[in-house]
């Protein structure tokens, strides 16, 4: 088989990879894989996906199945490194700050807020919330991924919303606001 034909034969899996790799990346990161290791572990996940594709029987969605492989890979990698995964401690204020002049800066700020807020949730709530609200998996898929009932996922997501809503409602005055009102 020539290289060109091999490349063509690989195309369907390549499309599957491109479709799911960002999701896997985020799962690994969220489960504590160090930034420097993300590429390697992400590659390993998809080698496993490729090898085990014949075992996939469609009892769950493909995304849930891939999620499980990624989660376990992250766990195995963390254990191998004897390092406890944790979201970074953040002292970012959780109030809604003034809009920045630059969209990218605003996005970065919003993501830092979200990361800090999610860190305050329990692991189960955080994962359910992220999978449902951000990764937009279905309730059934999240239940499958977490190994719990759909009602439990429903509770975790709505409870997380309540907590995040409360965090967003806290509004300590940011320093620059004081400056805007007459200087330091």
């Amino acid at each position: 088989m020539t290289d060109a034909s091999q490349r063509a034969a690989w195309q369907p899996f390549a499309e599957l990879f491109r479709a799911h790799a960002p999701f896997v990346w985020r799962v690994l990161r969220r489960h504590g894989v160090a930034e420097a290791d993300l590429e390697d572990v992400c590659q390993e996940v998809f080698v496993v996906v490729c090898r085990r594709l014949s075992e996939f029987q469609g009892r769950s969605s493909l995304r849930t199945w891939i999620y499980e492989i990624a989660r376990r890979s992250a766990l195995a990698q963390r254990r191998a490194r004897l390092r406890r995964a944790a979201l970074p401690e953040s002292d970012v204020e959780l109030a809604d700050g003034a809009p920045g002049p630059d969209a990218a800066l605003e996005q970065a700020r919003a993501l830092r807020w979200l990361e800090a807020a999610l860190a305050r949730l329990s692991e189960e709530k955080r994962e359910a919330f992220v999978l449902y609200e951000l990764e937009e998996m279905t309730l059934a898929e999240v239940a499958e991924a977490q190994g719990c009932a759909i009602n439990t996922v429903h509770y975790r997501v709505t409870s997380a919303r309540t907590e995040l809503q409360a965090l967003a409602a806290r509004a300590p005055r940011p320093p620059r606001l004081r400056w805007a009102q007459g200087g330091p």
């Binding site: 034909s5 091999q6 063509a8 034969a9 690989w10 195309q11 369907p12 899996f13 390549a14 499309e15 990879f17 491109r18 479709a19 790799a21 990346w25 993300l38 590429e39 590659q43 390993e44 998809f46 080698v47 496993v48 090898r51 594709l53 014949s54 075992e55 996939f56 029987q57 469609g58 009892r59 769950s60 969605s61 493909l62 499980e68 376990r72 766990l75 195995a76 191998a80 959780l94 809604d96 970065a108 919003a110 993501l111 979200l114 951000l134 937009e136 279905t138 309730l139 059934a140 499958e144 190994g147 009932a149 759909i150 996922v153 429903h154 919303r161 995040l164 809503q165 967003a168 409602a169």
Partner: protein, 234 residues
């Protein structure tokens, strides 16, 4: 049964809405994606990797590789597959050397297959296990889907779409007939839409794209679909 739960949107706090808008961009950049894909291909493609001299070899590798090579040639050699299909994802020490922990069996949740196949182009009838199997693959007759066989069929379509889009479209329709409950319906539809664009059947392509978007509103292939339908793709 729980009430349906809508995504947190209008009543979500502003920081969350802003973060969600940015969240989807988190991930590897294009260069990282292609680099990882190439390495996955090297690890999974023994002949090509052997030529480059950088392949990992392990005895278990052959259990995947031979069926995969035969699938690419259109012939299944299932007698060489040493292990029965597990009922669930049973953690084993995989070829990479990671020992994943054991996991309890799947909880009682509504059958995802029922959920995932009630939507989707070409899935207009209640799902039933795809009975189509490759020659000599009796052990697989009861499976609801056959991912490698699906990929092999879609691969054949992909290989000819440039020079014979009509043939590619026919192969995509064959996939729709044989794998109604298959896992690669979205990929099939993308191929079919691209084939229609190449055949200058623009209206049909856009009609099929509308059905795709309705059936898969959160598809990860949304961007690719836009590229296929863009005027520059003509």
């Amino acid at each position: 049964m729980s009430e349906p739960l809508e995504r947190w949107d209008h009543d979500a706090p502003k920081p969350f809405r802003a973060a969600k808008a940015a969240y989807g961009q988190l991930g590897p950049d294009a260069e990282q994606l292609e680099r990882m894909l190439e390495r996955v291909e090297q690890a999974a493609s023994l002949p090509a990797a052997a030529a480059r001299g950088g392949v990992w070899l392990g005895s278990k590798f052959w259990y995947w590789l031979l069926p995969a090579l035969c699938a690419l040639g259109g012939v299944w050699l299932w007698m060489l597959e040493p292990r029965p299909a597990p009922a669930s994802i049973v953690p084993k020490r995989d070829a990479i050397g990671h020992a994943a922990p054991a996991r309890p069996s799947a909880p009682a949740v509504p059958a995802p297959q029922r959920h995932e196949t009630k939507e989707g182009v070409g899935h207009g009838v209640p799902p039933e296990p795809a009975a189509t199997t490759a020659v000599g693959s009796a052990p697989r007759a009861k499976r609801a889907s056959d991912p490698l066989a699906e990929l092999a069929l879609l691969d054949r379509a992909r290989r000819v779409i440039g020079k014979d889009p009509a043939r590619a479209l026919a192969l995509a329709e064959e996939h729709a007939r044989h794998y109604r409950a298959g896992q690669f319906a979205e990929e099939r539809e993308l191929l079919a839409i691209e084939a229609l664009v190449r055949l200058a059947r623009r209206a049909a392509a856009e009609r099929r794209a509308r059905l795709f978007r309705r059936a898969h509103p959160n598809s990860v292939h949304a961007h690719r679909l836009g590229v296929i339908l863009s005027p520059a793709a003509r």
